[in-house]
Symmetry: C2
């Protein structure tokens, strides 16, 4: 039997508690898998006296990170506190103290990846971060090793469980956005302040990490155009359904003509595909590689034990010594990665779903079609339902699916349409996935 691996946790909330549970309750299993014991030596918390679901031996609880840094029996520290600034400093100090780091902190990686990976390289340590994207779904391992023979062509992720829960509830039960958000909050799937989830920022953080691994590119958050699910109208979900589509919040990045495109947006997906059936708090990532072709990785995107499963897999890999090997070979968040240019959002070509609330009078469709034609946008299909014959109902939804068009031209057309007198509210539009030209 080899020497035990000494582990410390920084943070013992949901995820930290789950990791502690596995370490304390499954020592035999983990020893067998890692080839040596994984010993929980220290747990850094803010409030040691707080009652916890998992019983941590009181003598290993501390409020002082310095005790961990000075402990020669700790070889790996898992940073599970979240937030950026304190975590950044803590991770840099842990690496400087000669210890390997595991982190589940997507915001930290997305915003300070270069700094902390440089620190790790400088100190000869490794960083593992499987839990930072998509919880229990092993997408980091898939991209770093299982698909390593491939040039990744595209990544499409359902990466934010809150957004996916809201969209699924709206699709399946016909709830409004406000109702679905309230239910998500009630069930604990959404924070009291859900801003970062519903505006697409959380998904963009995760996408930046995936793009780093797939393309070696540090994609700044401001280069990822973001539209979240906030305020999405249930009528669009209904029309999408009528057309055979489901709306999902996708975080996507793909290569085309040597440029890297990236965005977060609600997108219409064909209903009868595995990714369209990813419901509730599940996450999934569809990866296309030039050799492997299409793949999909699916699972719980958050939650105590699914995320703890990912952190503990990282611990096992460090115990076996595999992460260190990989870390030395790869050069993530390094300065000598490829320098791909980002594709401007306007030049992305896509099909679009377009909904216009228009006056129900002659000539409207003709004028809309004419604006689209002027912008070289070709119409694939149109839905306009008859409205009840009542004086109050003088407006009608006009839904148009376009053929593939340039996003820039399409948006210019929408701006033009928004200025027309018969439009009651601005044009609503989303990309349609299946025919996107790449």
């Amino acid at each position: 039997m080899s020497e035990p691996l000494g582990v410390a946790l920084v943070g013992c909330g949901t995820v930290g508690g789950g990791v502690a549970r596995l370490l304390l309750e499954q020592p035999d299993r983990l020893t067998a898998r890692a080839g040596r014991p994984l010993l929980l030596r220290r747990v850094v918390v803010r409030h040691p006296e707080k009652p916890r679901a998992v019983r941590i031996p009181p003598e290993i609880l501390t409020t002082d990170l310095d005790i961990v840094l000075a402990d020669p029996q700790v070889q790996v520290v898992a940073e599970l506190v979240g937030g950026v600034e304190w975590a950044r400093q803590a991770v840099c100090r842990i690496l400087a103290a000669g210890k390997d780091v595991i982190t589940a902190n997507k915001a930290l990686l997305a915003t300070h990846g270069t700094e902390i990976f440089d620190a790790a390289r400088k100190h000869g340590r490794a960083i593992a971060f499987e839990a930072s994207v998509a919880g229990g779904v092993p997408i980091i391992a898939a991209l770093t090793q299982s698909l390593a023979a491939n040039q990744i062509l595209s990544l499409q992720g359902i990466l934010n469980g809150t957004s996916n829960f809201i969209l699924s509830a709206m699709t399946e039960t016909g709830q409004t956005y406000a109702q679905a958000l309230a239910e998500a909050q009630e069930r604990g799937y959404a924070e009291a302040d859900p801003t970062l989830d519903i505006d697409g920022t959380d998904a963009a953080h995760k996408l930046a990490i995936l793009a780093q691994i797939a393309y070696g590119m540090t994609v700044p958050l401001e280069a990822i155009e973001r539209r979240g699910v906030g305020g999405i109208d249930s009528i669009d979900i209904r029309f999408a359904g009528e057309l055979g589509y489901i709306i999902k919040l996708l975080a996507e990045t793909w290569l085309s003509e040597g440029l890297l495109a990236a965005h977060v947006s609600p997108v219409l997906l064909r209903r009868h595909t595995p990714i369209a059936q990813v419901r509730g708090a599940y996450n999934a990532i569809h990866v296309t590689g030039d050799a492997v072709e299409d793949t999909l990785f699916y699972g719980k995107g958050a939650g105590q034990m699914p995320t703890a499963s990912a952190v503990t897999a990282d611990l096992i890999d460090l115990a076996i010594g595999r992460t260190q090997r990989l870390f030395q070979t790869q050069r993530l968040w390094s300065h000598d990665g490829p320098r791909l240019k980002m594709r401007p959002a306007d030049s992305v070509r896509s099909r679009f779903y377009l909904r216009l609330l228009v006056d129900d009078r002659p000539g409207v469709l003709s004028e809309v079609a004419s604006v689209l034609a002027q912008h070289q946008i070709s119409i694939a299909s149109v839905i306009q339902h008859e409205v009840p014959d009542l004086p109050a109902e003088q407006r009608v939804h006009l839904v148009i699916m376009t053929h593939t068009a340039s996003t820039g031209y399409f948006r210019a057309a929408c701006t033009k349409l928004d200025g027309l007198p018969f439009l009651s509210s601005p044009a609503v539009y989303y990309p349609v996935e299946d025919y996107k030209e790449r």
Copy 2:
């Protein structure tokens, strides 16, 4: 730059040709990922003069495995010939010559895993086999490392592309089994003799490999009850659709009450789930772990480049030195694994779909219900459509969905039903997935 890794291929058919293509056409990419060059030093083929899609330098082609065994510049040999007996001897000789082995040969692993893994341990070498199950889908890596913190509770795989292509074609186009099989053969998805695919043997081989990794158990093929797609009736696919289900050939193994169950069978799956939407030649594996909960891994189950992607990922892992670390820690196909007992098929509890072709006369449903009740089988729903009022149509399909029942009791009931005078042909039945008690 480290020393190159010297690679030999044994076999240069579909998969070997794909691996050769990656090695010869993408040297920069693979060197970057592996941290050192992967050099193709030898290719063992039967007919060196045969024209090939990828141009192999003639000086590295040979018909003689001994040349590879004696070549000190070859450190890894990928066995990509298929078949069992020749491959078994070749792999043992390669290991004895001090070289690591990659194999895509599921039949070899399923039937001689213990022998070749013992040989690898004896000679201090490693065996990698990602490509042996589900082509480009990295299910071996997922089970051996990404989910290593888990007790695997169940595995359900769509592992045979031929069967899935046939069932998808029948479901989507209403083809008969014979028509769908003919189309699969025309398109190259089915062999001229498709026996091992359509009788479930191929899926059982792959299931045995997955069970070995998940449970450390060597499950003999004869312990895996097999029903293939051969002769499946399109009427059952239609009735399943009417009930909201899709029929898939699943290879499943799961733990319950300390016993390991395993079978290959057509199964009814709820339509609106990711696994039910796995179509055509795609494969997928649904894995449930006690920490990670539900996960799904999806991709091309066969084909030149998807399978080559998996083999080349194994080469990269060997070049980095990660496989060797894992191999020493795990003890696959070893004699000291856990000794789980297999669950007898009769004791598995499941819901069932049952279709009876019966005379259209009074008292039939009552008698059927009575036989089921005698065997403690409770009926969840019944479909019997009106038949056209013609003298020729005196028989009718009676479709029953049961509540959860013991397989043994259920089969006894079917035997009893088959003996009743109003049945025109034997009862047809399949398990129903979603409510299986585990």
